[in-house]
Symmetry: D2
Subunit: 183 residues, 4 copies
């Protein structure tokens, strides 16, 4: 019997139909304060709910604060706290750059990644691209992400779905929560 | 006197007005064969012309063949040869992943990068994002890039220009060639 | 029933007693020509014999040519060919630096590493240190390594064995071959 | 006129005779608590003195706490505080692994590195090897390092000096301080 998240595009995720909470990590991206704009704090409520469900069945939750290079560092956003098991800082917009994220996920034996947070086009996208290169099987949880430019949300989604899902697949939090609690 | 490439957006590139052919590298991305589609070979003619101009004034040209993870490896595309000084392979869609690119650019003391090649939304974008995290000052040479989905070209451009140029700037090859030969 | 390599120090390797040829990779390090000295070619005969045994039971063999930074590149040593399944180049003395080694081992699902080759104090040691940081369980196959300075061989061994095996364990090829063929 | 640190072996450091406090960073390595032994706190007094001199002329001081993989994390050692400008954590014994060290040094434009701290054979050695691969010009400040096994100190030094200084050079803090304050 295969276990997938329902309604993911462009393919049923994970590719091998072997969804396993013990292999899942929800990777939440949040930008360091000091940029020109703050994410609407309602997004973190949504992420927090998904995080709680993931944790309730043994999934891991990792939060990574991303940092644009060559800018004043700023601090973590107090509104962005989602109750993660591990809270990390990255030295770039890619959550893997200059951070312990790769080693942590490997040590925790998590290779099925759910991506969420802000901003969709910057930190979330860069981290998902990098995770895919490293061999992680990735699902963008679209409604748990916030676009910096709402007009770019559709394109950010298409860039992942193109070419058969070159960077992974796209799904919704309700389907993620349903699948992981029955897996 | 400042030296910039004309008509770049959203800011005059490079940011410090110190364009210097001895610090410039044109990084050409080409996908490994074996994907579902081949780039139109005309793009390589355009890239080759820009590469020749960059080399004529002391700029470096580096070509990187990108590889999707977990796929049969394929070979380099014979049509994509652009006369680069250095030809590398990457282990991912990001030209820096599993490749000697970072060390090479550092050894050559090149920190002003021109990005070109195919595909715009995948290899070029991932490499530019990664280069920016590493502190390189990046210019996407838009007409020397080929979009996998032409409908996504505008969004790929906007993702770079947003937030004041979060991943660098965007320009055209004619302006790059004019600026670098008079710098 | 546990499966370990006999006579390894300072602990029975692998630590969990779960030796599995399907998880094993022999990583052979060889220096790029152009250094001041060539490894005695007899070492490659020994490595080749171990490599053949590892392959006969489903283990992987990966050869990495290391390169000192900021030196003329040189070429691969023709005498160092050991019949590897994968042949890679690294951009540093550490076989992981600027190379596809990490991604390859992950894709092949190999996390029990046997280290061999030349030079013991440089490329082999740097690669083993780096592998250990990345979570691989490592065994130095001491008689399949060649020391640049024979007087430093004992210290190179002690650096691994100290503090309970901080970088892994040390063993001999005869014990590796016996264990892996009966695992 | 060349500017070197006196009495370094096996070559006059830095190789180009261009010692420049604005390019220098003292990288201090300290192990995370939780290992089997604590460094003697007197070493940090020595490192602190050198750090103060380096800072007084515009050099940067970066402290990195290293972490063995797959062990309980422990905390930073309170006795190891040396007044660094930047304090980082690494995810491995190599101070560059899973840390922002590379990006930080690049952003600060520091390419002449002084290495000090504990333990000499583990964290200091791994970090120096990795720095050398990345193109940094490295000097081990031997009397500002503490060996885990005093019997291995000579070999740790020889491994750096061998082959013409394959990982850099070795010097003493008194000569470093004299050179940097008159550079």
């Amino acid at each position: 019997m295969t276990r997938n998240v329902a309604h993911t595009t462009p393919y049923a995720w994970p590719w091998d139909g072997a969804l396993d909470p013990g292999r899942v990590a929800l990777v939440v991206i949040s930008p360091r304060l000091g940029g020109d704009r703050l994410p609407d704090s309602r997004i973190w409520q949504e992420v927090r709910a998904t995080a709680g469900t993931v944790q309730s069945v043994g999934g891991a939750v990792v939060q990574v604060t991303t940092t644009p290079p060559d800018r004043s560092a700023g601090v973590r956003d107090e509104h962005a706290v989602v109750g993660a098991d591990h809270v990390l800082d990255a030295a770039g917009i890619d959550g893997f750059y200059g951070s312990p994220l790769d080693g942590l996920l490997r040590r925790l034996r998590r290779d099925q990644l759910l991506l969420a947070g802000a901003w969709l086009e910057t930190g979330v996208h860069s981290t998902m691209r990098s995770a895919n290169d490293r061999g992680f099987e990735c699902l963008l949880v679209l409604d748990a992400c916030l676009a910096y430019e709402p007009a770019l949300e559709a394109a950010s989604r298409s860039q992942i779905e193109m070419s058969g899902g070159i960077f992974g697949a796209v799904g919704q939090s309700v389907d993620v929560c349903a699948a992981i609690t029955s897996a």
